[in-house]
């Protein structure tokens, strides 16, 4: 099916979420694995799955792809059961594994040709176009390719059949900035064409650039889910001010959203979550002569979240 999605979704299942997990659990023991994952990814979303190394991102993705089996819970993709309908799902899904695959003794073209051959119906022009856009030489021996070029092979095979759902495990690992930009364009085009993208990463700046919604996972448990705007509301401004009058730290501590206050020799430093307005009268009364405020990046916010000790899974209302 040239230039179109690998399989057109029926009208009925397009109303269903692209991915839905309920109580999904894979326990490897010693606290490793994934526990009670409840997650919904809507159709047409670009969804970022964020967490530190060993948080359970790859385990989640392998469960979705039926590459490993859950101890309990349920996952459905494109309104089909992840396990029972595994083959039907895979025909409509593009997948990029988190670890580089080794293919000794063959060319990059062989790898793509094999995977395209097994799928069937892949447009050769699409493969050529992806290879050109990602600057990938398909004639080269796969084993001699650099890390980044092997990742390009993985990207080509994930996008080549124009899948409805694209699941990417750390997709930009080893890619140079130009190819990263091309990758973002590919994701954008796929979403514009109606696809859903689910990608795991620990590079928050990358996720911030392309994702609509984000889930944070830590120690195998979902920590937080929200749109970028919702998460931005969590953002904290760092305020630095010089003043000539008097400023009582106790007055600052009573202000809503103000924390981490230090007053040292007519210099104030504090963090403000939410509006800065309540702080302004206090600063004015202290004859502020210099004021600097900057928003912490999403990365700094998340680092702050992950610096805190782990807590039990959040109630569903928070997701």
């Amino acid at each position: 099916m040239r230039g179109q999605r690998a399989a057109s979704p029926g009208a009925r299942d397009t109303e269903q979420p692209a991915i839905e997990c309920r109580g999904l659990t894979k326990d490897y023991g010693n606290g490793h694995g994934l526990f009670d994952l409840d997650l919904t990814v809507r159709r047409g979303e670009t969804f970022g799955f964020i967490g530190p190394n060993g948080a359970g991102k790859t385990t989640t993705i392998r469960l979705l792809m039926d590459l490993i089996r859950a101890d309990r819970g349920h996952a459905s993709l494109l309104a089909m059961d992840a396990r029972r309908d595994s083959l039907a799902i895979k025909r409509r899904v593009g997948y990029l594994p988190g670890e580089l695959v080794q293919f000794p003794g063959v060319s990059a073209g062989y790898v793509i040709g094999l995977l395209a051959g097994l799928r069937g119906g892949v447009d050769p022009a699409r493969i050529a176009e992806l290879a050109r856009r990602l600057d990938l030489d398909l004639g080269r021996r796969y084993e001699t390719l650099s890390h980044g070029n092997k990742q390009k092979v993985a990207l080509v095979q994930a996008f080549m059949h124009r899948p409805e759902l694209i699941i990417l495990d750390e997709p930009t690992l080893g890619l140079d900035p130009l190819i990263q930009r091309e990758f973002r364009q590919l994701v954008g085009e796929a979403v514009t064409g109606g696809a859903t993208v689910f990608l795991s990463s620990h590079v928050l700046s990358e996720v911030e650039l392309i994702c609509d919604r984000i889930a944070l996972i830590r120690d195998g448990r979902l920590h937080r889910v929200g749109s970028l705007n919702e998460l931005r509301a969590l953002r904290v401004h760092r305020v630095e001010a010089n003043f000539t009058g008097r400023l009582d730290p106790a007055d600052l501590a009573r202000l809503p959203g103000v924390s981490d206050t230090t007053v040292d020799d007519h210099h104030l430093g504090c963090a403000v979550q939410g509006s800065i307005a309540p702080l302004l009268p206090v600063l004015s009364a202290a004859n502020v002569v210099e004021l600097d405020s900057h928003e912490l990046s999403l990365e700094e916010v998340f680092l702050g979240e992950f610096d805190q000790p782990p807590e039990p899974a959040q109630p569903a209302a928070r997701r």
Partner: protein
């Protein structure tokens, strides 16, 4: 400066790491050697006690066959003694096997490991390339020392069981085997520094050593080429025959082996110092690759055909080697055939009925030589399946619309097709040689031989698939090796110990029978068919039930 970082001294952590990497190989080799030595010793003692005329008569009756088959095993001295027989029958082949194993390990120790990136991290610690090579070599020397001690113990036990206890000779024999294997390791290390890939290095080193082994056995029959034996580690290993009365441990030859190993390692260190990381010393400059217009080909639409396409050069090598091997066997027919009527032990192993022509019996025996070849082929395929899992290829394949049962089925089909090509090539080689020496072949027998060989492959491949699906690690390959070794040993033990014939059917080699001469017993066919069906479906079911892709 601590001794760990001293460039000319082995680094204890790396030596330990090398030993750790062989922690399963060491006991496997020791156990295999002990079982084989003790079983053959017990069989020899039993045969001598029954043979009319005793040990000397038996040795005399063996002599023509031994002479004819000297390409495979040599030297043969004092076959009237257990020490002489064990040295001839077991130690020579064990030496070859361990030396080839060592060569493979040598090729992978430095060069092969570079694919994983581990050596780069080790070199980044400041350890020199020569130092790393030295560490790996020292670690493997310790590995071989342990195997040699275990082999010596196994030989000592075998000699005691056979009624000719010789502890000193046993351990000296073990030492000579270990030294030979270490020189094979050095060959593997050196060759792999030169070649474009570790796989090429492994293949060349294995071919070189096998060639030298065969050449050593017939060195006095090939005129001026016989001088090449001095380049063969087996020539020096054979000089030490401590279990053979009248011979002993040749100190000079053993020192020569050790010196040769050190020299080869020195050459390898030189090459390693000068070559690029991840590339051989002799690497062709990269060719400008033509733009690829079309990557999708009919052969890539199924896993089985894609596998054969990927392995086409290797499969051609298998076919050529199998054809050459059976052609050689066929060519030996006139030399061997004459003595067979006198040697009851061989007849019992062959399972031939009286009344068959000697030529037919010999060709049947030669045809059976396909079995170890295709068994080895299945073994390599099983190792490949484990690597598919370890190196992420299974994950990528299963991410497409391919189920585990389909993948298992396609692998079995690829193995069966490859084995069919090897079998046909081997039988063509045998037939061609038989025609050259004037021995007529039986087309029906050859057809039966082909069919039963493929049934054998199907059974063995199914067991391999089941082991891989169940264990999903290198342990599956070890298990398959143990199964094959036990099956092979049973073929020898049943006639040697005069066990009932049905016991033989429990072995896949026994179940295979002698298809060139006769239709195998129904029990044998049932065993092979049952293993193929149950193993294949079991593998698919086990894989599907728990489709774990991460090892």
């Amino acid at each position: 400066m601590s001794s760990i970082n001293h460039p000319s001294l082995p680094s204890r952590p790396l030596v330990g790491d090398t030993l750790r990497a062989h922690r399963w190989g060491i006991p496997a080799w020791i156990a295999g050697a002990a079982v084989a030595m003790v079983a053959i010793a017990a069989g020899f003692a039993s045969e001598v006690s029954r043979f009319a005329g005793g040990a000397q008569e038996m040795a005399d009756s063996m002599r023509p066959g031994v002479e004819a088959m000297r390409l495979l095993r040599w030297p043969a001295d004092r076959l009237d003694t257990l020490g002489g027989y064990l040295t001839y029958h077991n130690v020579t082949l064990f030496t070859l096997g361990l030396t080839l194993y060592a060569a493979v390990q040598g090729a992978h120790a430095v060069r092969g490991a570079e694919a994983s990136g581990v050596p780069a991290q080790i070199l980044a610690t400041g350890r020199s390339r020569t130092g790393v090579l030295l560490d790996r070599a020292a670690g493997f020397a310790l590995t071989l020392a342990l195997i040699s001690i275990g082999l010596g113990a196994g030989l000592a036990a075998a000699m005691a069981v056979g009624g000719e206890p010789d502890v000193g000779g046993s351990f000296m024999t073990g030492s000579a085997v270990g030294l030979c294997a270490f020189s094979g390791y050095a060959v593997g290390v050196l060759v792999s520094q030169l070649t474009s890939s570790a796989r090429a290095g492994t293949g060349i080193a294995a071919l070189l050593l096998t060639g030298l082994y065969l050449l050593t056995n017939v060195a006095d029959q090939i005129g001026p080429f016989g001088v090449l034996r001095f380049a063969s580690p087996f020539h020096y290993a054979n000089a030490s025959r401590a279990l053979v009365p009248g011979h002993g441990f040749d100190v000079v030859a053993s020192l020569g082996l050790a010196a040769a190993a050190v020299a080869l390692l020195g050459g390898a260190a030189w090459a390693y110092r000068d070559r690029d990381y991840g590339a051989g010393l002799w690497t062709r400059p990269a060719r400008t690759s033509r733009p690829v217009r079309r990557v999708q080909r009919p052969a890539l639409r199924a896993v089985w055909s894609a596998t054969l396409l990927r392995q086409r050069l290797g499969l051609l090598t298998w076919c050529a080697a199998a054809a050459a091997w059976l052609a050689l066997m066929g060519w030996l027919e006139p030399t061997v055939a004459d003595m067979w009527n006198d040697f009851q032990y061989t007849q019992r192993i062959l399972g031939a009925e009286p009344g068959r022509s000697v030529a037919d019996q010999y060709l049947a025996f030669a045809g059976q030589m396909i079995v170890p070849i295709v068994a080895a082929y299945v073994f390599t395929q099983a190792a490949g399946w484990v690597n598919d899992l370890k190196q992420g290829r299974v994950e990528l394949l299963l991410a497409g619309p391919v189920s585990w049962p389909r993948l298992v089925g396609q692998r079995l089909l690829a193995t069966l097709t490859g084995a069919a090509a090897i079998t046909v090539a081997a039988i063509a080689g045998l037939t061609a040689a038989a025609v050259v020496v004037g021995a007529g072949t039986n087309p029906i027998g050859l057809t039966r031989l082909t069919a039963i060989t493929l049934l054998f492959v199907a059974a063995l491949a199914a067991i391999a698939a089941l082991a891989v699906a169940w264990l999903r690690s290198g342990a599956a390959v070890t298990m398959l090796a143990a199964f094959l070794a036990a099956s092979y040993l049973l073929v020898y033990l049943v006639p040697l110990l005069a066990w009932p014939n049905w016991v033989l059917r429990a072995s896949v080699f026994g179940a295979y029978g002698n298809p060139y001469l006769e239709v195998p017993a129904w029990t044998g066919l049932a065993v092979l068919t049952g293993l193929a069906l149950l193993g294949g479906s079991g593998a698919a079911a086990v894989a599907q039930r728990s489709p774990k892709v991460a090892t």
